[in-house]
Symmetry: C2
Subunit: 440 residues, 2 copies
C-alpha cells in the first residue's frame, strides 16, 4: 500500500493515471468470437444454444432442459438454510422500500387549452444475467430484479450458466424465487446475451438486459446495444475512505480490505488529514493479513486482498478533508465512505460517487446487502455521469402533445418561421394548411 502526500497538480495527474490503468480496456481480443456466437444464435436459435452450451460449458442440455423447471426451484429453495432465507427476505424488504421511493408517475399540464406531458411506463420485459461459479451472488439477483419489479416490468427473466451436473446454484434459485422471476434459463456467456436480444424458440426477446458478467458477456452486451438496452458495464470494484483522526482505524482498515478481497484489480484508497490514522490503518491492515494468513494459509480472499492493495492500495495525506473530497471527486469512486466529525458537511461537496456511506456505522458491505440502496454502481470514474441502478432504468417516457386551436393560433406561425429557415418546407406546409383552415 503506497502512501502519498497530496500537494500539487502533478499529484492529481499521477493519481488519475493510476485510476485509469484499471480500465477494462479494449475488448478487441474477444470481439470477433462474440460476434460469431451472436450470429449463430440469431440464425439457429435453440439449436445454437444447445451446441454452444456443450462446447463452452461442457454441459449437454436438450431443448426441454434449457428452462429451469418449477420442481428444481422448489427443491433448491427447500435445500437452503432457513437463516439465509430470512436474511435474503429482510434484504428484499429493505431494497424494495428504498426503490419504491424512485417510482415516477406520468405528468401532464394544460397551457392555453393544450395538454402537454409525459407518460412514464415500465419496460415490458427484462433479462437478468447472473454469472456462474464463484461470482454467483444471490444479492445480485435481488439488486437487479427488485427495481424492475417496482418499475412494473411484467416479464422478468433470468439466465445463468449451468454447472456440470446441469444444476444451478441453489442460492441463486432461492433468490430468484423470492423475487418472483418469471422464467429462468440455463444459458451463460455471450450466447445468453444473444438469446435475450433476438429471442429463440425457448428464450424470449427482451427490451433490456442487466447484470454482471465476464468479458464475453460484457462484449456481447456492447454488441447488442441498440437492439436492446443494456446496463452499465461494470469494471473492478473500488472504494475511497475519507477519514479524520476520530475514525476507528480498525473500521477503516477492514473496510479497505473488504473491497480489496473482490479482485486483484479492485482499488482501495484512504484519504486522510491524520498521519496518525494513516499509520494505524496500515498497521491494522498488516496485522489483519498476518492473523488471517496464520489461521488459514490458503485463504484466497486474503491473498487477493493483498495483491489488490499492492497494486492499487493507496493512502493519501491531505491538509484537510475538504481537499480530500475534491480528490475523491476526481477519482469518482464507486463507493465512498466518510468517517469524520464534519461528515454531513463533506457530503454536500461530494459530486461524483456511486454510494456515499456516512459515519462509523455505515460500512460499505451494509450497502452491498441490506441497507436497501442498490449495489449495482458506476465504476471506473463513470459516476461523473452514470447513476446507481434504479427503478428509472426500467422505465421509459413518451412525450404527449394534444394541441388546442388556441395554441395553434398562437404558436404555429412561429413554427413555420423556424421550419422555413431550416429549409423544411413540407414541415411548414403541414402547419400552414391548418393555420389557413382555422383563420377568420
Amino acid at each position: 500500500m503506497k502512501v502519498l502526500f497530496a500537494q500539487n497538480r502533478e499529484f492529481e495527474k499521477e493519481l488519475i493515471n493510476i485510476v485509469k490503468k484499471r480500465s477494462p480496456g479494449e475488448l478487441t481480443g474477444v470481439e470477433k468470437r462474440v460476434r460469431e456466437i451472436i450470429e449463430k444464435v440469431r440464425e439457429k436459435g435453440d439449436e445454437a444454444l444447445i451446441e454452444l452450451t456443450m462446447e463452452l460449458d461442457g454441459v449437454f442440455l436438450n431443448a426441454e432442459e434449457l428452462e429451469v423447471r418449477d420442481e428444481e426451484i422448489e427443491k433448491a429453495y427447500s435445500s437452503v438454510e432457513k437463516e439465509f432465507l430470512e436474511a435474503l427476505n429482510k434484504a428484499y424488504e429493505n431494497i424494495l422500500e428504498f426503490h419504491e421511493k424512485q417510482k415516477q408517475e406520468s405528468w401532464f399540464y394544460m397551457k392555453e387549452g393544450s395538454l402537454l406531458g409525459q407518460r412514464i411506463l415500465p419496460l415490458e420485459s427484462v433479462g437478468i444475467y447472473v454469472p456462474g461459479g464463484k461470482a454467483a451472488y444471490p444479492s445480485t439477483v435481488l439488486m437487479n430484479a427488485i427495481p424492475a419489479k417496482v418499475a412494473g416490468v411484467e416479464r422478468i427473466y433470468m439466465t445463468t450458466p449451468p454447472k456440470g451436473n446441469k444444476e444451478i446454484n441453489p442460492y441463486i434459485l432461492a433468490a430468484a424465487k423470492i423475487c418472483g422471476i418469471n422464467k429462468i434459463f440455463k444459458i451463460g456467456g455471450a450466447q445468453a446475451i444473444a438469446a435475450l436480444s433476438y429471442g429463440t424458440e425457448t428464450i424470449p426477446k427482451v427490451d433490456k438486459i442487466v447484470g454482471p458478467g465476464n468479458i464475453y458477456v460484457a462484449c456481447a452486451k456492447k454488441q447488442v446495444y441498440g437492439e436492446v438496452d443494456v446496463d452499465l458495464i461494470a469494471g473492478p470494484s473500488e472504494i475511497v475512505v475519507i477519514a479524520d483522526e476520530t475514525a476507528d482505524e480498525r473500521y477503516v482498515a477492514y473496510d479497505l480490505l473488504s473491497q480489496a478481497e473482490h479482485d486483484e484489480n479492485a482499488m482501495a484508497i484512504l484519504i486522510t488529514d491524520s498521519q496518525r490514522l494513516a499509520q494505524e490503518v496500515l498497521r491494522c491492515i498488516n496485522d489483519c493479513i498476518e492473523t488471517k494468513e496464520k489461521e488459514d494459509p490458503l485463504n484466497n480472499n486474503i491473498s487477493t486482498a493483498k495483491k489488490s492493495l499492492e497494486n492499487y492500495g493507496l493512502i493519501l495525506l491531505t491538509q484537510n478533508l475538504m481537499e480530500a473530497v475534491k480528490i475523491s471527486n476526481l477519482i469518482a469512486p464507486e463507493h465512498l465512505e466518510i468517517i469524520a466529525k464534519n461528515g454531513d458537511e463533506l457530503l454536500k461537496e461530494v459530486k461524483n460517487a456511486g454510494t456515499v456511506f456516512l459515519g462509523e456505522f455505515s460500512p460499505e458491505p451494509i450497502g452491498d446487502y441490506i441497507a436497501g440502496t442498490n449495489h449495482v454502481l458506476p465504476t471506473n470514474q463513470t459516476s461523473r455521469f452514470f447513476s446507481p441502478l434504479g427503478v428509472y432504468d426500467f422505465m421509459k417516457r413518451i412525450n404527449v402533445v394534444k394541441y388546442s386551436l388556441e395554441s395553434l393560433r398562437l404558436y404555429a406561425g412561429h413554427a413555420v418561421k423556424i421550419a422555413e429557415r431550416e429549409g423544411l418546407y413540407l414541415h411548414a406546409n403541414s402547419l400552414k394548411v391548418r393555420i389557413n383552415d382555422v383563420q377568420g
Copy 2:
C-alpha cells in the same frame, strides 16, 4: 406508397422486416479511420484539431480561431431577421416550461434512525455537437441545450464545423446565444467528439456529449462511450399516423409528406380502418407532389419525400384502431399521430413511441419547434426502451446511507449471513467488528 391489409402474423413479420431494413447497420467501414482520428486528437490536442480541420473541412484555423469570439456571435445575432429571433425566443420559453416539469429533487427518508436516499445532481459539463451544412438546425441547439440548462449543468459547450470562410451559420450562433452556451468551437466530425471526450488545450473535456451528426460523429460517439456519456444515436426519422374516417385527408397527407422530406430513408406510415381515408390520403399526396413539382421542378424536398415514400411509405388497413395501436407498438415509432374520435382511449394503449401527437391540431412539426416537447427522440424501434431527451439525461444520482446504531443491530447480522454465503469473508469481517463493538 404501398397499401397493405393488416390481417395475420405473417404481415407483422413482413412489417418488422421493412422497419428493420432501415437500421443504420454496422459502422465498420469508418471505425478504423475514426479510431485514428481520436488517437491523434488525444496525442496532439489542438495541433491535431488544426490539421484535421484543414484536411477534412478544407479550412485553416490557427489555435486562436478554434473558439468563436464574442464579436462573431454578436454579429451573427444582429444579422438574423427579427421575426426569426422572436420565433426562437417563443420556442425557448415553451421548451423551458415543459422541461422544468422534469426537474427532480434529491430525496431522503429516515428508518430506524438511519438516513437513506439519493442526491440528484446535474452533470458538471456537457458538449453539444451541431452538424454543419444543410442539417444545421437552430431548433436542435435549443432542444439539446435547454434540458441541460434546466438540469443545472454549469458548463455547456457547443462545437460545429466551420464553413470555408471560417464562419458558422448565423442562425446556429443566434440559437446558441439565446441558450447562453458558454463556449462555441469551430470543430466538426469525429475530431470534435474526441476533443470533448479527452480535452485539448482549447477544448475542455466534458461529462456528456449530445447532438446529431453524420456517420463519423456517430461512430466516434460509440467509441468514446464510457470515457464520457453520449446520447442516443439517431437513425432516420419516422412517423406513424393512426387515423379514422373523421380525419382530414389533407392533414394526414401533409404530415406524412413532412416526415418524408427529411431523408430518403425516412419512414411514413398511415394505419387506418377507413378505406376511404386511405384512398383520399393517397390522392392528396399525389396531388401535392404534382403541384409542388410544377411550381418548382428542382424542389429537393419533394424529390426526397417522393423517394422516401417509395422506399418506406406504407398504408396499413386494419379492422379497427385498437389493432392499429398494436401494430404501432410493434413499429415503436419516433413520432405517432392519432387523429380519431376515440384518440384519448387509444393513447392509453400506446406502449412504444417517442412523442404522441393527439388530435387534428397537433401536427408533428409543432413538436419539432414550438410545443415545448423535445424533438430528440428514440428512432429505429428503440422507443421500446429509450426516452425522449430530457432533464433526466443531464442529471446523475448518488446513493446515500447514514446508518444508525439501531439499524446496525437490527440488520448487520443478516448481511453477514449473505456475505459469508457469497464467500466474501472480509466483507463479513467489516460488519462483525462493528457488531462486536456495539454489543452488550
